[in-house]
Amino acid sequence: MSDFIANTEKDTKEMLEAIGAKTLEDLFSDIREHQKPKSFELVSGKSEFEVIDHIKKLAAKNATNLVCFLGAGYYDHLIPSVVDHLSSRSEFTTAYTPYQPECSQGTLQAIFEYQSSICRLTGLEIANASLYDGGTALYEAMMMARRITGRNRVLVDSAVSPIYRTIIYSYTKNLDIEFLEIPVVHGQTDRNSLRKNLNDQVACVILQNPNFFGAIDDHADIVEDIHRVKALAIESVYPLSLGLLKTPGEMGIDIATGEGQSLGLPLSFGGPYLGFMATKREFARKMPGRIVGQTTDAANRTGYVLTLQAREQHIRREKATSNICSNEALCALRALIYLTALGKNGLLEVARLNYEKAEFAKSLLSKIKGVTVKQSSPTFNEFTVLLPKDPAHVIARMIEKGFAAGFSLERYYKDMKNYMLIAVTEKRTKEEIVRYAESLESALWS
């Protein structure tokens, strides 16, 4: 058994002598007899070979051979090899939060470059070093808008991920915030309903693009309305889609957030993922999370430090902009390496592939008897179909045929019986898409 402890018996004896204690137990004399564990029934240790063997067996119980058309905000994308190799360097993985800048310039410059990439992606001016995931990032944005406006009413587009909305509602149960959900018409935000509910009580409006149904929108007109009542516009975005789509910055959005999983993070059964946030410069001091800034040393050499720390919990305690401390730094590094490896043309290329493959899938699926592909708004790489049968059953049959077929929308939208969400990424080949369409037809009709 190994426990990674270097002290030998001889070392231990010498150290105890230096301390003036007889036994290791003496060092725990502050723990009184009645405070000792009532139980500590754990199995004995094993070698790494046995542990790996055990965990490999667990891994084998998971089905990973399904061809993935399941998305709903979390996507099966290609990841270049360099992402894993470089982000696994232990100089990155085994460092802590870069509190001491002189010996943490690697992490600090990488975060600065990550922040820069997120700004370039979203068309905004300042980004933080990362948040936990897309859902909590959106919650933080909403809290930030409350701080900036001093208002307590929040309008939420009902096409924002129901997972994110559930997170926001869960986190705020003990607070005095009034939420109102804006309905969706023809797959896009209902402008009329939104305008009717916009007034000077509203702190922010929360939007998503592409929305949960995969539909693309241009929110510029909505943003104008929002700004007219001095509220803030928040948009959750799918970062990969920004290789093609109009940026939050171009629409005038005040705070953009999103799930960074699509930027080089494997699906990993839900985490670790990456929440990102970018905003306008004027709101920087209200932003949650770590921020890295560029500066110089006495010899005028450029370096990077954690900055605007007066917002943070370790300085401001209960008055901090957020309680966040550890974030998802290594995932942010992966996102940076991914974006760097793709570069300007690679990002455009992958975004196009996603769009084109999804359009091809739509064209095949719309030919299947009883299947309606919703075409009311353009989509990016995910779209909604209306099936003639309960999607839950269809999905179960498709599993037998080797596909993770999609997501039944009724799970979160009670009135969307028989609607299914289908994602097609750049990873899906023509052959897989054709086979998927054939299998779906046979799952429905034979």
Binding site: D3, F4, I5, D11, T12, M15, F28, I31, Q35, K38, S44, K46, A59, A60, K61, N62, A63, T64, L70, Y74, E91, T93, Q100, E102, S104, G106, A110, F112, Q115, L121, Y132, I163, K173, N174, D218, L242, K246, L267, S268, G271, G293, T295, T296, R301, V305, E312, R317, E318, A320, I324, S326, A329, T340, A341, G343, L347, L353, F360, F407, T429
Partner: protein, 481 residues
């Protein structure tokens, strides 16, 4: 180093995607498109590899340097855990798979990891159940305080305050405030532990909970903890345990036995998962049975036939803390670590963490003022109060250690110690490493007396010296646009 953006050359490529094998059917209407392509760098694969390899070399890390950063438990991160976290059986698993009809059966291995960790962590800490959803310690605190709020709400009680000792991590008051509580700080006594009289003065039926770290941030075990718990419970308040320092007490005592009702752990501290330069972490929250019904959904339950499934039907639940089941790969690494160490290994971990900290304390207390003159747990806290007489600050000592190839201890925390130096060696460091550190700390003191300029100018051996932090905050140059 030059920014990656400045290395961009138009037309250069790294990643190439497969050529499109489907017909192009439609274009997205122009009004939905960005005006120009995202201005990411155009570099070759070699450029990418050199850039990030050279950046990594600018870091101190556990794998390259002694890293006694107090309160952060920078122990060795075993490599085999990285291998298990790369298994495709986990990395390729879509989190929504078990939420599909008949999908649960497709993720039994992953669900078993989570189910087992719930059970193991409960036994280690003496709690009744865990949620693994929180992504970090502070996220766990937030979840924990939400659970406390839900508990009091279920009793139709509106309690306003959460009590926090003045030695607490900043995340404690910040987490409680975000949930909507007002914070009352409780002073520490001269022994560095909670002042019971000060506590009694603020403890009443408006108090929702007391948040405590044990051992506390001075590295001291709160021997009166059961008295404090009794006082809290008598007023209907709950006891919250910040598990940042659990590495000191594995197998020696359990928060659950001491009267704590809600606790969070930091798997990236106690259970050896790498910190990643500031995450991802994992901050599971454990509760006593009275609070189980409030835990976030989903819960993983076992059927009679032994299969596992996700249960979302928990009407009293606080809801979602994260999108899915937590930072799964981090949890998996911690699971592998715990299986490897086993019962005896975990006990030895705490024993040697405490031994190493006390050894450092014993060897330095003649020249550095200990925050409290007594046996410590897994970390020791000094004040540079003697050095400051020569105008040498904790910061200067920290920067000098960088020149010795040692990552500095935590400085200026806990806030109740003037010029604090908080040293947590962890159990994985050898006596030779500690002796070298002790030597460097003694050198720092000798230089303080004889040639303080060396400390004031430190570090001198790094690519940059001390940076102008005021300028950074003023200029707010936080992105290359």
């Amino acid at each position: 180093m030059e920014l990656i953006f400045n290395k961009s050359v138009s037309g250069r490529r790294c990643t190439q995607f497969p050529a499109n094998d489907v017909p192009v059917l439609k274009e997205i209407p122009k009004k939905y498109l960005r005006k120009s392509p995202c201005n990411l760098p155009e570099v070759s694969e070699m450029d990418v590899v050199r850039h990030f390899t050279n950046l990594s070399k600018l870091n101190f890390s556990v794998d390259s340097n002694f890293y006694p950063l107090g309160s952060c438990t920078m122990k060795y991160n075993p490599k085999f855990t990285e291998d298990v976290a790369r298994l495709e059986g986990f990395t390729k698993l879509h989190p929504l798979l078990p939420q599909l009809r008949l999908g649960g059966i497709l993720a039994q291995g992953a669900l078993e990891v989570l189910y087992e960790m719930d059970r193991i962590l409960s036994e280690i800490t003496g709690m009744d159940a865990f949620t693994l959803q929180p992504a970090a310690g502070a996220h766990g605190e937030l979840a924990g305080v939400m659970l406390i709020a839900a508990y009091h709400r279920s009793l139709n009680q509106k309690r306003k305050y959460i009590l926090v000792p003045d030695s607490a991590h900043g995340t404690n008051p910040a987490s409680a405030a975000i949930v909507g509580y007002e914070i009352i700080n409780i002073a520490s006594n001269k022994n560095g532990t909670m002042d019971i009289e000060a506590l009694k003065a603020h403890l009443n039926q408006d108090v929702a909970a007391i948040m405590m770290t044990c051992p506390n941030t001075l590295g001291l075990f709160e021997s009166d903890i059961d008295t404090i718990a009794k006082l809290a419970h008598a007023q209907g308040a709950l006891m919250y345990y910040d598990g940042a320092n659990l590495n000191a007490i594995l197998g020696k005592c359990r928060p659950g036995d001491l009267g704590f009702d809600v606790i969070h752990l930091n798997l990236h501290k106690t259970f050896a998962t790498p910190h990643g330069g500031g995450g991802p972490g994992s901050g599971p929250v454990g509760v006593k049975k009275e609070l189980i019904e409030f835990l976030p959904i989903s819960r993983i339950e076992k059927r009679d036939d032994g299969t596992l499934y996700l249960d979302y039907k928990k009407p009293q639940s606080i809801g979602y803390i994260s999108s899915f089941y937590g930072n799964f790969l981090v949890i998996l690494k911690a699971y592998a670590y715990i299986l490897l160490l086993g019962k005896e290994g975990l006990i030895r971990t705490s024993e040697h963490a405490v031994l190493n900290a006390n050894y450092v304390l014993a060897k330095l207390k003649d020249i550095y003022e200990p925050a409290v003159e007594k046996t410590c747990m897994h970390e020791c806290v000094f004040s540079a109060s003697r050095q400051i007489l020569k105008n040498v600050h904790a910061l200067d000592i920290a920067k000098y250690l960088i020149d010795c190839g040692i990552h500095p201890p935590t400085i200026y925390f806990p806030l109740i110690v003037k010029e604090a130096l908080m040293i947590e060696p962890t159990e994985t460091e050898s006596k030779e490493t500690l002796d070298h550190f002790i030597h460097c700390m003694r050198e720092a003191n000798r230089l303080t007396q004889e040639n303080p300029e060396v400390l004031k100018k430190a570090p001198q051996t790094m690519p940059i010296s001390r940076l102008d932090e005021t300028k950074a905050a003023r200029d707010m140059n936080c992105a290359s646009l």
